[in-house]
Symmetry: C2
Subunit: 129 residues, 2 copies
């Protein structure tokens, strides 16, 4: 793993994949909208925690990528949390403009919904005891 | 990749990692709370789309895992969306009880927040033109 400036106490909690990466979920802090999922390594998380803006690691380009650098659609950090087993981070952000490179606010645009079976509340079986 | 019942039109849009997996973000559909991130393969997504409940693939146990099977903390599907490049899904759910195996509602409990620099809105520089 490359040297990173990340606090060793945080680094010790992380569980990374074989490439040293973990998913980072970006959520608009006030509306709760899930905007996108990117990837981070220790250094990307370090930059995200210390610069006020979200930095990811691009798997396709194999480089750091600070959101909005070229598009101007910056993500300002509101808060960052690890999950219970340290293999994902949730970054609450204030997103300027669209988060998605396709121009939609979220990468999970409703036009990308898949048909799914939804069980109405009154048809849910009781939990077996 | 193992045979799966997933609609080939959906399977064709997916981009999986070297293990055939992709992250799945579970969000409480009405409050917007991000509950957890799990992993799916084609068959887990197929089961999620067709049974009304969320099924993940456990990387540690290498088996399918329908959320709530043992805990009773079931996740009922509300809607499912692929992201723009097909490498993540967002599952909006109705979560019964805590989503986290530690007993907290979300795996990104506020006690797991990391210290982060937050730039106030009026101190954000203009986007370079």
């Amino acid at each position: 793993m490359p040297q990173s400036g990340l606090d060793p106490a945080i680094a010790a909690q992380l569980r990374r994949d074989a490439h040293g990466l973990f998913p980072a979920v970006a959520q608009q802090w006030d509306t709760g909208e899930v905007l996108m999922v990117g990837w981070m390594d220790d250094e990307a998380l370090h930059r995200t925690l210390t610069t006020g803006r979200v930095t990811y690691f691009s798997r396709s380009r194999q480089e750091y990528w600070t959101k909005g650098e070229t598009s101007g659609h910056r993500q300002w950090v509101h808060s960052v949390a690890l999950d219970c087993d340290g293999d994902t981070v949730l970054v609450r952000v204030d997103q300027e403009g669209p988060a998605c490179h396709t121009g939609t606010r979220s990468c999970f645009d409703e036009t990308r919904a898949l048909a799914a079976v939804v069980v109405p509340v009154d048809e849910r079986p009781a939990v077996a005891s």
